[in-house]
């Protein structure tokens, strides 16, 4: 089932390339395969049994036994959530690109390749198998920026590629050392070893290691670098604003909606289960990084003049909450059941936030694409004014998305952030308190955007701007509806991931205090 799901977009992409048809044909094919993939992931979601612990829909085949490489896929609550999310974001991006005449067949083929890379990354459970998709998803993303981006695309795409590669190489080297010590590449096996406390002692199998704890710490930071660049965590984020701003908005939707989640996924699938002791030891610097990721980009977003850059920084800020939640979950809580419940709340919040950020950020960049198409590419904050009166539907719907991003109760952004803060505060009061500053600044800059773009006197240039067409309204309707649904009924997601979260807490809770 999962293999089929991953192959589906690849088949679609190859078909688009083989047919060499017009843009309309490519677009139709991409929509067909994107929609099929979305239906497939939803079927998986329905078939997924949240009560059963461990991986479901598993497939295992030997690949290179002498090197511990196997073809191993499976999903737990996290995996299935990520699959639905990626398929959803890809569909949103395809819908947004429907009327953009600049994007030809190759664009659609690359988007489908990217989707396959995402599916593979979110389902593979053997490091090498996973790494294939982790790296290969980078190639279509690079060309999406390089070929269809704005004036600074050459620099932005290369920077994006090289930064991610630095992280990937560090991650690869760390896992090679782990393999050498344990003979395993399988995430599930490695997590089991780590949680029974055998991973660090196993590093002493390397004859030159005198202090396995130190090496384990080094490997943790190397793996951390891989995910910190991808998520990104401040100060490894500098590639992001340029990449998001230069990429065509339809691609930015994919980058922020789905690809940035690869980093958070790595935190949850790899760092937390395999390196819980190291995370605990490095708790203070990790918390500082998380807080910096929340607060600094919020200030940076405030001073941006380009809407895309504003929302790019806002995206870093929102993923900072996820990093905070993951760090909190690694905290030592002893046997206190109440604190364990707080950790569960924080982790549930992280998963909600991941999904909700994909939805909100995807929608925001979609709106920017709509505005750009009407303004001839202009997207400065000061270029507009009073759009509320000219294009009321566009302004209203985008306003909903902005408020969702801000965390207004009743919309999708609220439950996730609330749970993260609720869970973090009792465990790391100081970090949570500083992080609230980020929440405040988010409100400030988002309201500033609303004020400058939508209200105030009408900018004479845009008096003739067309409001959303019926097609665009219908395309956006399900997205806006989903924002309300998740805001009002977050159990839709929390119910799905509860079992997985409990399993993590149980696994991470073991171990020693530092």
């Amino acid at each position: 089932m999962i293999t089929f799901l991953t192959l589906l977009p690849i088949v679609g992409a190859l078909l688009i390339l083989a047919l060499r048809g017009s843009r309309a044909v490519a677009r139709g094919l991409a929509a067909f395969f994107g929609l099929s993939a979305l239906v497939g992931t939803i079927l998986l979601w329905i078939g997924f049994n949240p009560g059963t612990p461990g991986m479901q829909f598993e497939e295992w085949h030997a690949w290179v036994p002498s090197l511990g490489i196997s073809y191993h896929v499976g999903v737990d609550g996290l995996g299935v959530l990520m699959l639905v999310l990626s398929a959803m974001v890809v569909m949103m991006s395809l819908a947004a690109s429907w009327a953009n005449a600049k994007l030809g067949p190759v664009y659609y083929a690359l988007v489908l390749f990217l989707e396959a890379g995402l599916f593979g990354t979110f389902t593979a459970l053997n490091f090498v198998h996973w790494f294939v998709f982790w790296e290969l998803s980078l190639i279509p993303a690079f060309f999406l920026i390089r070929l269809w981006g704005g004036p600074g695309r050459a620099r932005a795409s290369t920077q994006f590629f090289l930064y991610t590669m630095v992280g990937s190489v560090a991650l690869l080297l760390a896992f090679l050392a782990l393999f050498l010590a344990t003979g395993r590449f399988d995430f599930v096996d490695l997590a089991r070893l780590a949680q029974s406390g055998q991973l660090t002692p196993a590093l002493a199998n390397l004859h030159w290691v005198s202090n396995p704890g130190q090496l384990a710490m080094l490997l943790f930071w190397a793996a951390f670098l891989g995910f910190a660049v991808k998520t990104p965590v401040v100060p490894f984020h500098t590639w992001l604003p340029a990449a998001y701003a230069e990429a065509p908005s339809e691609t930015t939707m994919l980058l922020t909606g789905a690809m940035s989640k690869m980093g958070v996924y790595g935190f949850l699938r790899i760092l937390l289960p395999i390196f819980p002791q190291q995370m605990r030891q490095a708790m203070t610097p990790l918390l500082w990084l998380a807080v910096a990721t929340i607060v600094l980009p919020a200030f940076a977003a405030w001073v941006q003049k380009d809407l895309k850059r504003t929302f790019a920084y806002s995206s870093i800020n929102h993923l900072g909450y996820c990093v905070l939640g993951v760090c909190v979950a690694a905290k030592f809580t002893g046997t206190d059941p109440r604190l364990a419940a707080e950790k569960a709340a924080a982790l549930t919040g992280v998963l909600l936030q991941v999904f909700s950020h994909a939805l909100t950020a995807g929608a925001l960049f979609w709106f920017i694409a709509l505005i750009e198409r009407r303004s001839g590419g202009l997207r400065g904050i000061d270029d507009f004014g009073g759009l509320r009166k000219v294009v009321p539907v566009l302004s209203g719907l985008m306003g909903i998305a902005i408020f969702a991003s801000l965390g207004l109760p009743g919309l999708n952004g609220f439950p996730g952030e609330f749970l993260i803060f609720k869970g973090s505060f009792p465990l790391v009061p100081w970090a949570t308190a500083v992080a609230v500053l980020g929440l405040l600044m988010t409100a400030v800059f988002l309201l500033a955007v609303i004020q400058k773009v939508f209200s105030g006197p009408v900018n004479g240039r845009w008096e003739a701007m067309a409001d959303l067409t019926t097609t665009e309204r219908w395309a956006l309707a399900p997205v806006i509806a989903l924002m309300f649904v998740i805001g009002l009924y977050p159990q839709l997601i929390t119910g799905m991931v509860h079992g997985t979260v409990m399993q993590w807490i149980a696994g991470v809770g073991a171990g020693v205090r530092f």
């Binding site: 002498s66 290969l136 390089r146 050459a154 290369t158 090289l162 690869l172 090679l176 393999f179 390397l206």
Partner: protein
């Protein structure tokens, strides 16, 4: 049967030289190469796991114990397969040679025959003979059909080709001289009875003898493998050679050196890798010395490639960097590292061949320039998209993206390095990153450069069928090995575990 790979190549060379027309010579060459490839594949299919297949054993000069002894184990078979693939695709990429076509293919096939001979020889003297046979045609291929940067006058072009060809020949002969000296010494010390590998590998050479014979022979072969600081022939030679010869030079001839390092130096004189018993500048054994030279090669080759303006030099220096991984893998002295080294020989042979094919045949033969800054504005991605896609895939394979053969090879070498030489892992990691940077720089500069305002797209001749077949053959090989590396790993590992390598396993194996 396998011996016919050699004989057929030499017969094919004769036939190509005597061919009445150019087209006839091409077809003869292609059929010869395909026959060699077919024989290698047949041997691979019929191979019993772990076997050492004796192909021919005839006394040659019995008075001094030299015999005509051909045999193949898993390592030889891997490299025979590489030779078959590289030879076939090389001919497909030199289909457009019009100047002295018959002679070109004759020299080309002599080179191929020599290479097959080296990989099949199981007698040190025979190996040396084939090794020398392979050097001669290289000289003529570069000196007569070589390529030079645009703007060079006729005389200057000639002298540049002469320079590169002569440099390559001199370096090769200097390396051979060291190997010859080592061979004679081994023959004398072992009592002058035989030069067969089976005899020499079992002969207990005194440790103090191995201590100086090992570095001599190792360096002799490593010159041809592009080991820093003896690598300088490689970039000039690769750049000046015609496309097919660059493909063979980087793809196969550099492997002759690496193969010699493993098969002769390390297999016969394993004690030479042991500790000296004292330290000089922190080096405690020849192994430390060569491992450091290998990582210097990795980082230096990649760094120099990063600042080249000549497209062919970029790829030329990349070969130095990638061959550094082979040497590093050898110096890990672990089963996994050696396995990775042999796999990297295969993988680099295929990938470098592909890169040179794009640079030399697809791009240079059409645009007549190799300058990155001149190629950029030509919008090659639009004009010859097939070349762009091929280079993207080859570049992905070259930087070691998983799914391609380069990944699985470097992956094993790095695991071996973690085990045996952990402090070199970060340096090798930096080398990989610089490798990514220079490949991506060349890729974006050449194929996705910004066109000047109002620039016209120059129509270039379309990619021919022969080029497409060659590119697909090489791409399919790197993908198949990358996705299913067991095909080759199951060949190489038993060979490394065979009695021939027992000295190495007992001595310094970690």
């Amino acid at each position: 049967m396998l011996a016919w790979t050699i004989y057929l190549s030499f017969l094919g060379a004769l036939a190509a030289r005597l061919a009445p027309s150019k087209q006839f010579a091409r077809i003869v060459a292609l059929l010869t190469a395909l026959a060699g490839l077919g024989l290698s594949i047949a041997a691979l299919v019929r191979w019993q796991p772990g076997a050492l297949v004796t192909v021919a054993q005839v006394p040659w000069i019995p008075q001094v114990g030299i015999s005509y002894h051909l045999a193949a184990d898993g390592i030889s078979l891997t490299l025979l397969l590489l030779t078959g693939i590289a030879a076939t695709s090389g001919i497909l990429f030199s289909w457009n040679i019009e100047q002295r076509t018959q002679e070109f293919f004759a020299f080309y096939l002599v080179l191929i025959g020599g290479v097959y001979g080296v990989f099949l020889s199981f007698d040190l003297f025979l190996l040396f003979v084939f090794y020398e046979i392979a050097i001669i045609p290289k000289y003529f291929l570069i000196a007569i059909w070589g390529s030079v940067p645009r703007g060079a006058t006729r005389e200057k072009a000639g002298s540049q080709r002469e320079y590169a060809a002569m440099k390559l020949a001199l370096y090769s002969f200097a390396g051979s001289a060291l190997v010859l000296a080592g061979m004679v010494a081994a023959w004398t010390v072992s009592g002058g009875r035989s030069l067969s590998f089976e005899f020499l590998a079992r002969y207990p050479f005194p440790a103090h003898f191995q201590m100086w014979a090992f570095p001599m022979v190792f360096v002799g072969f490593a010159v041809l493998a592009g080991m820093w600081p003896f690598h300088t022939w490689a970039p000039t030679g690769h750049a000046a050679a015609p496309t097919a010869a660059s493909m063979l030079l980087a793809g196969v001839v550099m492997k002759l050196g690496a193969y010699g390092c493993l098969r002769v130096a390390m297999m016969l004189f394993p004690a030479g890798l042991g500790p000296w018993g004292f330290h000089v500048l922190g080096f405690g054994s020849w192994r430390d010395v060569f491992a450091v030279l290998a990582v210097i090669g990795i980082v230096y080759g990649a760094s120099v490639a990063l600042v080249q303006r000549d497209f062919k030099f970029v790829i030329g220096y990349s070969s130095v960097s990638h061959m550094g991984f082979v040497l590093l893998g050898l110096m890990t002295l672990t089963q996994i590292g050696l396995d990775g080294a042999v796999l990297q020989m295969f993988s680099h042979g295929v990938i470098a061949g592909l890169l040179f094919a794009v640079v030399g045949r697809m791009v240079y033969d059409r645009t007549h320039t190799r300058d990155l800054n001149e190629l950029g504005p030509m919008r090659l991605a639009q004009v010859i998209p097939f070349a762009a896609v091929t280079f993207i895939l080859a570049g992905m394979a070259s930087i070691g993206l998983p799914g391609f053969s380069g990944f699985i090879a470097e992956f094993q070498i790095l695991i071996g390095t973690w085990r045996a030489l952990p402090w070199m892992v970060p340096v090798a990691g930096i080398g990989i990153l610089i490798g990514i940077a220079f490949t991506w720089r060349a890729l974006t500069k050449v194929f996705f450069g910004e066109a000047a305002a109002g620039a016209q797209e120059h129509p270039l001749p379309p990619i021919t069928l022969a080029e497409k077949c060659g590119a697909v053959l090489l791409l399919a090989t790197t993908l198949v090995v990358g996705l299913y590396p067991r095909i080759l790993i199951d060949l190489i590992l038993p060979a490394l575990n065979s009695p021939l390598f027992e000295g190495l396993r007992k001595g310094a194996w970690r």
